[in-house]
């Protein structure tokens, strides 16, 4: 089955991973800007990273027939440094007209601090000013519940932002309901240790339906599985769900969400 992985960090993966994903049916992916595993020293370092996301990764994916899209921001972890964050946010408009840029992301909270919140609000300002889509990172483990609610409060505090133009990622059993109820899109991240399993993701599809719901691997440089979306497809098939239901979550939904971006022009396989 053709599928999209709407959240994967390919700069941390090998070209062999592109080959494997292509063979498993991946036809498109979106790569949010995130933390490199260490704090970067200057805004120039982000300029190079944004070139990598908008130039090099795009061509590396194309060699395997995969359409590569990306999101730009300074991630929540490095947002603790407010002055660096402001320099990076000021630079982002230089890259917003690049053809594979979908919007601002993955922005959000990490430890739910004041500085993270301030930088998050400044990213929202940028997204509103340039009318960009938004991809949200929600915190992990015990910070997820309050952090997700704080993020929703900030999004809803700005009436210029429409919930159908925001995808909130890493939802789990205790946050998915609130995100969908308020009209946002939700992404379930399949992760071997700290997040959601394919079986729990399938449970949430059964309980909440397929509307505005996506799954992703969030494959990165840590313990993660870039092939997690095919694992979810397999779990859904084992439970007897129709191909149309599965396709809605792994293909139609991400395409519908991304299609709201004026630069998004995806050519489905003939």
């Amino acid at each position: 089955m053709d599928y999209f992985d709407p959240h994967i960090h390919m700069v941390s993966r090998t070209t062999d991973d592109y080959a494997t994903l292509a063979r498993m049916g991946c036809v498109g992916m979106s790569e949010p800007a995130f933390w490199a595993g260490f704090d970067r020293g200057s805004a120039e370092s982000f300029r190079d990273y944004f070139r990598q996301l908008t130039e090099f990764e795009r061509s590396r994916a194309a060699a395997y027939g995969i359409a590569h899209y990306t999101w730009l921001c300074i991630n929540a972890k490095e947002a603790e440094n407010v002055s660096l964050s402001r320099e990076v946010i000021a630079m982002i408009p230089e890259f917003l007209d690049r053809p594979n840029v979908l919007g601002i992301g993955e922005i959000g909270l990490n430890k739910n601090t004041k500085n993270e919140s301030i930088v998050f609000l400044e990213h929202l300002e940028l997204a509103a000013k340039f009318d960009e889509l938004i991809l949200i990172h929600t915190p992990h483990l015990h910070d997820k519940y309050p952090g997700t609610r704080m993020i929703l409060d900030m999004l809803q505090g700005d009436s210029r932002l429409q919930p159908q133009r925001v995808l909130v990622d890493h939802v789990e059993e205790h946050t998915i309901g609130e995100v969908l109820d308020r009209g946002f899109w939700a992404g379930m991240t399949l992760y071997p240790v700290s997040k959601c399993t394919p079986a729990r993701a399938a449970d949430m599809v059964e309980q909440f339906g397929t509307e505005r719901l996506c799954v992703n691997s969030a494959g990165d440089w840590g313990p993660s599985q870039p092939t997690a979306v095919p694992n979810f497809i397999f779990e859904m098939r084992r439970r007897g769900h129709s191909e149309a239901t599965i396709r809605r979550v792994v293909y139609d939904n991400p395409l519908a969400f991304f299609s709201q971006c004026r630069r998004f022009h995806f050519q489905p396989r003939a």
Binding site: L141, H142, Y145, D158, E173
Partner: protein
């Protein structure tokens, strides 16, 4: 799938997970002092008790048990201007 089919699929997996928790608790108990953090041990006990309750939403309830609380007054507490835009 029927409940019996789901159980047939999950039974060995559930058994293995219960064993894993049992062995982990034994491992903590036979380890040297200082003893394990009583607050976290109490959370584990509460989590296990939640599984025995005859009510749906166990996964959500376990998630909430292991979560920090949310307070709607957080913008004032942190000094962050929320809800003044648009």
């Amino acid at each position: 799938m029927s409940a019996q089919e789901v159980l047939d699929r999950e039974f060995l997996e559930i058994r293995a997970r219960i064993l894993k928790i049992a062995a982990s608790l034994d491992r903590i108990e036979r380890s040297d002092s200082p003893p394990a953090d009583p607050a976290r041990m109490a959370l584990i006990r509460e989590g296990l008790e939640l599984l025995l309750k005859d009510s749906p939403g166990r996964a959500k309830n376990v998630q909430l048990l292991f979560s920090l609380p949310y307070s709607p007054d957080w913008p004032a507490a942190l000094g962050v201007p929320v809800g003044k835009k648009g």
